[in-house]
Symmetry: C2
Subunit: 337 residues, 2 copies
DNA sequence: GGCGTTCAGTGAAGCGCTTCGACAGCTGAT
DNA sequence: ATCAGCTGTCGAAGCGCTTCACTGAACGCC
């Protein structure tokens, strides 16, 4: 059973193993008649190239590693499908690693990638210490950052501008007539949360407002719907309600929405509400949720293209730090009409 | 640069390459003092075992392939994390393949798996023609079905009982006092939709009702929130409202909820509503959604354990077709109190 | 002291593939 | 007739590892 090797194919086609390898890897070097003879033998024997042998000899594999923080998060899922699309189209396999934000797990994943001698790695780093990334590069493995702008010019990255996104959201609230705005966010150690807040402040300044007085921040320990509901309760308890609420992600926003509705607050009539990420469920809630959409799928595609370009053309490759722009999605929760 | 091989380690530790290999693979065969000397050399040189060379020689790799229908679906995402957990704990890498329900893409993924000589494959088959699965097994690659009960005894599988789930949901509606029940479903070609309906009918019969008159089916072309909302509009247009609605998934249910609320129908006071899958957002909606939860994460874990057992102990391994039971999750949308 | 036994470690063979220098056969220019 | 320049194919070397038959040394035991 099984294990048809290149030799068997060669014997059947009456050529040498080297020629079979040429058919596989540089078909243009082989005369048409020989080629079709070999191809027939391959089909007849059901030959499948042995990837390990191939990459052992060739010195590189046709796999890439993808290490993300949480594959359960729709954001990363979308990124992953983008990666998968491009990779599989180019004949690459994707090895998935989920770090759960755990430094140790991430390191273990990177080790697995190194053992598999992946061609390159796509990674959303789980923290700012990038020494382990350098170690990969010393090994000759290309690395592209995903959703993390590279600080260095010798490093590709793709990310989405969170400052712009925050500004868009708050500008939209202001244009809808909001005066006092609350920013419901997760842990302030998260870069995205911080930058979205910066954007919010920038929007207030641009509208001639003072962030210190016009913006109230509610920081929660996690970014789930449950925490959003708690945030709403906090808002309700704290005295006069803001008339616009910007949440650092949609889950928080859905929680806030639920909390406000339970208290009889009307959205958007009493309070306008906007989230971030535009997850599927933003358009499924009782009051559909305005949000800021990121080109997640494209993020994965472009990251993969950059990575494969860097691998295939190490000399001509120009490192790029690509920053995508988010997009405002207006729905019922901010449409006061 | 880089590329520290087993030979370099051997030279540094003053042993033969074979001994280094033993330290890596059968540490108990090596004297403690030698072992620690080798381990130090490994650390000092930053040696990383070459997976391709290893699996070429050993005849099998430490990777498994996971082919799912839609990694964007939270169901599969949860399964994937379960798989990843077990695999990475046992030192296996997971190669991800997304078929998007496309037969061709699935076949391409399986080819990639075969080239990588994965140890085994976990697959949610995208259709019922399983000949390509047999071809894999001829190659000596173990296969475990995920969310698809195997019809054959020589094949492992894990799945969740959809008939039971459907019955649970409808029994719950009946116990809450519902008399006329609507089943909002997706395309009737989907096995899950059919079986959940069978469960619904079984529950009605058990309660002494006639499915033909007590159950009204609304079949939509897709299972999204938008389609759910359309289903609600259909229900509203069709005359007397049912007093219980069972949806084949949560997205449909959220759409129905939204459609009913917009029309001023109170949930659960006027209509009780239950979904399926217990996605995160079920507990985040304006009226939290009762649902049927499946042990998705566990599904992935168990599937992987079965697979690795079959790989590691081909002789003693007993094929199993495991059927998990779903679990009822009661929330506001069915709590008439 | 000779003998079997166990324990540690050796080293060569070879997994299936790619690569590259060698070479045969041919064409067309000299 | 000779030769340079191709094109197409061959075949051996070797990628880094595991495996296994083997060698020595150490240790009782009669």
């Amino acid at each position: 059973m099984s294990s048809v090797s290149i030799k068997d194919v060669a014997a059947r086609a009456g050529v040498s193993p080297g020629t079979v390898s040429n058919v596989l890897n540089r078909p243009e070097k082989v005369a048409t008649s020989t080629r079709s003879r070999v191809e027939r033998a391959i089909r007849e024997l059901g030959f499948v190239r042995h990837g390990s042998a191939s990459s052992l000899r060739a010195g590189h594999s046709r796999t890439i590693g993808l290490s993300v923080i949480d594959i359960g998060n729709p954001f990363f899922t979308d990124v992953a499908t983008g990666v998968e699309d491009v990779a599989s189209e180019r004949g690459y396999a994707v090895i998935l690693g989920n770090s759960s934000g755990d430094r140790l797990k991430e390191e273990r994943n990177l080790l697995v990638f190194a053992e598999q001698r992946v061609r390159g790695v796509l990674i959303t780093p789980s923290d700012e210490d990038l020494s382990r990334i350098d170690r990969l590069k010393e090994r000759g493995i290309c690395v592209v950052f995903v959703d993390h702008p590279a600080a260095r010019a010798d490093q590709c990255s793709v990310a989405v501008n969170d400052v712009t996104g925050g500004a868009m959201a708050v500008t939209h609230l202001l244009e809808g007539g909001a005066r006092r705005i609350a920013y419901v966010t997760g842990p302030t150690t998260i870069r995205q949360c911080l930058e979205r807040r910066q954007g919010a402040e920038r929007a207030l300044l641009a509208a001639g407002r003072t962030p210190a007085t016009a913006l109230q921040e509610i920081s929660m320990t996690a970014m789930t719907a449950r925490h959003g509901q708690q945030a709403a309760e906090k808002l309700l308890a704290q005295g006069p309600l803001p008339d616009g609420v910007f949440c650092a992600n949609d889950l928080l926003a859905l929680g806030v929405l639920r909390g406000l509705m339970h208290a009889g607050v009307r959205v958007p009539a009493d309070v306008a509400l906007i989230g971030y990420d535009d997850i599927d469920f933003a358009s499924a809630s009782a009051v559909t949720l305005s949000s800021v959409r990121q080109p997640t799928h494209r993020l994965g595609q472009v990251a993969t293209e950059l990575l494969l370009d860097e691998c295939d053309n190490p000399d001509t490759h120009a490192h790029q730090q690509i920053m995508f722009q988010p997009e405002l999605v207006i729905r019922e929760s901010t449409s006061s009409t």
